[in-house]
């Protein structure tokens, strides 16, 4: 492994739980509904994280456990079945229903798998009912997507033994996804599908001929489940920035035995254009010091991009969880002596932020304004899971997300000067 310093820390954390990923998953699959089985806290978390402006009936909700549900499990199972029945009656357009476990449902040992199984029988042919855990005692933030996708894997149809295809796994913005597919087609990979699909009922097939490229770094369990279905998991850096995206695509073409010359000639004009577009942000970011607090698991690939392509100096990279095998290609690209910290002691970590005085901190929404109030520029990590940032063409946009807060601070300082 590289010379990076891998550290572990534990203590009070400040991260979202896996329920949060419902915020983007429900938008990706408009025919699915996410029903959290939990408490008022869970309901409040999702609406607060989403900053919801509800202009329509949302495709997520919470079955809130009440005192009487805690008394007997049998009754709670029955109650849940009733809630689901009411919901499905009200929303006949739902094709897939995810029952999402929470801390309370797990502590009282509500058996969501069993309820899902019974409901599946009752609604056969109409609605598929799945379950996974988004609880804070088991998962952080993006791991919720890992859970949801893992739950979909068993439902994927088996492909023909000889059928070769590329499967891109992890939620991407639709436009980015289309673009990546076009590029793969251009270099000669004709069958490219994605998980999650845009329609929950439109699951891609899977089998020994499937080669999986992970578009997001937080999908350990999904990757394992796909492997168990016979697919080959390709390990590469993640498609953030020019370099990461190039290596990511090259890994796929290697697996499909595509001539390197074709890949290079396809990507070269893109790379040239992106490099030019990146130039302006590079000068803004170069030499600036960056501290990433743990939240989305995108921290390591982001640090790699911001350091290698934008010249930022990395003070510390936090990550809520580190899968060394899947992250190896990324870690190898990081320069030696960078602190990579798995887990969190939020107070100690903020002490380090205060001591180091970085120019930019990537952090959760709860921490941003307190840091801004101390004069430290911040970037919300949740923005990164909502924005189209993947692929060579998006490299400049990705850099711009980090350059903007710095640029803004400069603007405001100038304004203050102009007034005094």
């Amino acid at each position: 492994m590289s010379g990076t310093t891998l550290l572990k820390e534990s203590g009070p954390r400040e991260v979202f739980c896996g329920l949060t990923s419902i915020v983007w998953l429900h938008r990706r699959m408009p025919d699915a509904f996410f029903l959290v089985v939990g408490s008022r806290t869970c309901a409040h978390l999702i609406q607060s994280a989403a900053g919801v402006m509800i202009f329509a009936e949302p495709r997520f909700g919470t079955a809130i456990l009440e005192e009487k549900d805690l008394a007997g499990l049998a009754d709670a199972h029955e109650e849940l079945t009733r809630v689901v029945r009411d919901l499905l009656q009200r929303r006949p357009e739902i094709r897939t229903l995810f029952l999402v476990g929470s801390c309370p449902s797990e502590v009282i040992k509500l058996d969501l798998a069993r309820v899902a199984e019974q409901l599946n029988k009752a609604y056969e042919g109409q609605v598929r009912v799945l379950n996974y855990s988004g609880s804070g005692i088991e998962t952080t933030f993006t791991q919720g997507e890992d859970g949801a996708l893992s739950a979909l894997v068993p439902l994927m149809p088996t492909s023909q033994p000889q059928e070769s295809q590329l499967l891109i796994v992890g939620t991407l913005a639709n436009s980015v996804e289309d673009r990546l597919k076009t590029l793969f087609n251009r270099i000669g990979i004709s069958k490219v599908s994605s998980l999650p699909p845009r329609k929950s009922s439109d699951l891609p097939s899977i089998g020994p001929g499937t080669k999986v490229l992970l578009a997001q770094p937080y999908l350990s369990n999904t990757a394992k489940a796909l492997k168990d279905r016979g697919a080959e998991i390709l390990l590469a850096p993640f498609p953030l920035g020019i370099e990461g995206s190039r290596l990511w695509m090259q890994e796929a073409s290697k697996a499909f035995n595509i001539d390197k010359g074709i890949v290079d000639s396809t990507l070269e004009p893109l790379i040239a254009r992106a490099t030019k577009a990146l130039e302006a942000y590079k000068s803004a970011l170069s030499g600036k010091r960056l501290f990433l607090l743990p939240e989305s698991q995108l921290e390591i690939p982001l640090a790699r991009f911001l350091h290698r392509e934008c010249g930022m100096e990395i003070v510390e990279v936090g990550t809520p969880y580190l899968n060394r095998e899947m992250m190896k290609a990324e870690l190898d690209l990081l320069p030696p002596n960078i602190r990579v910290v798995e887990g969190q002691h939020v107070e100690k970590q903020l002490d380090r932020v205060n001591a180091e005085k970085p120019d930019l901190v990537v952090c959760g929404m709860g921490l941003a304004n307190p840091l801004e109030a101390k004069g430290v520029s911040t970037k919300w990590s949740i923005e990164l899971v909502f924005s189209p940032i993947h692929g060579i063409d998006q490299a400049a946009d990705l850099a711009e997300l980090f350059a903007r807060p710095l640029y803004r601070q400069q603007l405001l300082e100038h304004k203050v000067l102009a007034h005094t």
């Binding site: 409040h44 329509a56 009936e57 309370p104 502590v107 005692i137 929404m365 921490l367 941003a368």
Partner: protein, 532 residues
């Protein structure tokens, strides 16, 4: 089990956080899993606080559950006390920790710490945020003051006379994530000072534990937000004999009543010219321009305090017609029901925003006064709206001074409520003139484009007027009567915010009368029918 798509109130421990964050020198150790830390953003984002809430979350994980979670809790308590050195410690649990029953409060008491420890038991599966805030404030005040209760309640609210000083009152109830509390405090202080009444303790917002100890030294308590401080005021009355005021000074009439009540409690004569109405609301409402406001149909929904106050202002001070009144707060159901009955309505007590939405659409109001959720729903229905109560968005925490209470509060209310109505009128005029060549297609009032960037519907680029038209053309349904082109044209001339109601009434009439086609005649018939 209750199916919730969106909730008006958070869990009770968020209420406790509101009290802890409002005060100075308090720290709250909350036994809770990591996801519960989301609550910090309510304070740092909605209120734009530059400080983190003073909360340590134990963030226990599944793997801790097999082991000794009690030790984990104690470790966090020890560390928090060392690091933050608080004057008092709140200890409690969120929904999940309540199930594992580690009793963090008792654990803390057993640790030999040398500071006041308040054990919070907030049942997460039956109670909600405002209750949690009230209970926390009460437990905190009681915890700090209970040793001073002497059984003899000799408190005399007129003591200021013998002591030859100004009367002294406490303002109890303002908190973070309350509605405009920061500015209400300033306004009420100013109001009372004009009457030579001093404000001693303001709590919880901005108070220290030392301030709480001073509470019994004042003459009376002012219960500014009953949701948060009524239980505390009751306890102080019972144990210290301190009377408290019940009138919430929102609106001109209520501000007058408030002054009268305070003076009576203090046995202080109210000089008539001193109680002069200093609000412009009264004159603005009387001015000829405001004839336009007469009988405007208004639907009111919010927390108990603000909903009740809004109903009184709407009816008595602005000449609106209140067509709906309700609250999401079970604790305030009784007074809201009473207020609704007094104006001939049945109160809507509900937690379900979809039920509130359908009540609004049924009542067909011309203005909605509600929470951020009613603003969204009013937007969908194309009805003007003003926010009068929590829960709120970041834009409901304005930078400028904008209290709800006292004279200035009434001014703010006049502006905040009448402005959207005028915008609605503008919208109508734009709709009327939209066929004129001067008006290009893209012309919109603010109603048409605000929020459109986030709107998930493809209606977002339409003006309200066009949306209503769209709804009409989409409403073709086999058994409903058909609108003739001439009928449609006539309907489009009606202001969009009542157009829906007119359409519904006309169709209802047409169905009753058995006519299949609706033209302008049918519309006039229907109008006469429903007037009669």
């Amino acid at each position: 089990m209750e199916l919730t798509l969106w909730t008006y109130e958070g869990p009770p421990h968020v209420g406790a956080m509101r009290i802890a964050s409002s005060m100075k020198g308090i720290h709250y150790v909350l036994h809770a899993p990591q996801g519960d830390t989301y609550a910090d953003l309510l304070f740092t984002m909605i209120e734009r606080r530059g400080e983190r809430p003073p909360v340590t979350y134990t963030t226990f994980q599944a793997r801790d559950l097999g082991g000794d979670t009690a030790e984990l809790v104690k470790g966090h308590i020890r560390e928090a006390v060392e690091r933050f050195n608080p004057e008092a410690l709140l200890v409690g649990e969120s929904c999940t920790a309540e199930l594992i029953q580690d009793q963090p409060g008792s654990l803390a008491h057993g640790m030999g710490l040398d500071l006041p420890i308040i054990n919070l038991e907030l049942p997460a599966y039956s109670k909600k945020e405002n209750w949690g805030a009230a209970e926390t404030f009460y437990q905190l005040v009681r915890g700090l003051l209970k040793d001073k209760v002497d059984g003899q309640t000799t408190h005399d609210p007129r003591a200021w006379k013998q002591e030859e000083r100004n009367p002294k009152v406490n303002l109890l109830g303002p908190s973070l994530l309350g509605f405009r509390c920061r500015d209400d405090i300033l306004e009420i202080k100013k109001l009372l000072n004009e009457h030579d009444i001093d404000v001693a303790v303001v709590a919880p917002l901005g108070a220290t534990t030392a301030d709480l100890l001073e509470i019994p030294k004042s003459d009376i308590n002012v219960c500014l937000y009953p949701e948060i401080s009524e239980s505390t005021c009751n306890w102080l009355e019972k144990n210290f004999g301190m009377p408290f005021s019940h009138t919430v000074p929102i609106g001109v009439g209520a501000t007058k009543d408030f002054l009268t009540e305070i003076h009576k409690l203090l046995d202080l004569p109210l000089k008539p010219n001193n109680a002069n109405n200093e609000s412009k609301l009264t004159w603005y409402s009387q001015s000829v321009d405001s004839n336009y406001l007469t009988g405007k149909r208004v639907f009111i929904f919010g927390d108990g305090t603000h909903a009740i106050a809004a109903a009184r202002i709407a009816k008595q001070e602005l000449g609106f017609e209140v067509v709906g009144l309700g609250t999401y707060s079970r604790e305030m159901a009784r007074p809201v029901r009473k207020a609704a009955e007094a104006i001939g309505l049945k109160a809507l007590i509900s937690n379900d925003y979809l039920e509130v939405e359908s009540a609004i659409s049924e009542a067909a109001p011309e203005l909605v006064l509600g929470t951020q959720m009613e603003r969204h729903c009013a937007k969908r229905l194309g009805i003007p709206c003003a926010v009068i109560s929590t829960p709120m968005h970041v834009q409901d925490v304005p930078a400028r001074y904008s209290p709800q209470m006292g004279w200035e509060g009434s001014n703010v209310i006049f502006d905040d409520w009448v402005h959207p109505l005028m915008m609605g009128l503008e919208e109508h005029l734009i709709g009327m003139f939209r066929h004129d060549f001067e008006f290009t297609d893209g012309h919109q009032s603010h109603l048409g484009h605000l929020g459109a960037g986030k709107a998930a519907t493809d209606n977002s680029s339409l003006t309200e007027s066009q949306k209503e038209d769209k709804a009409i053309s989409e409403s073709v349904n086999l058994d409903s009567p058909i609108w003739t082109p001439e009928g449609k044209e006539e309907l489009s001339k009606i202001p969009f915010f009542v157009r829906g109601k007119v359409r519904k009434n006309t169709e209802k009439y047409a169905r009753q009368a058995g006519c299949r086609k609706i033209d302008s005649e049918t519309m006039l018939d229907a109008k006469a029918h429903f007037k009669g």
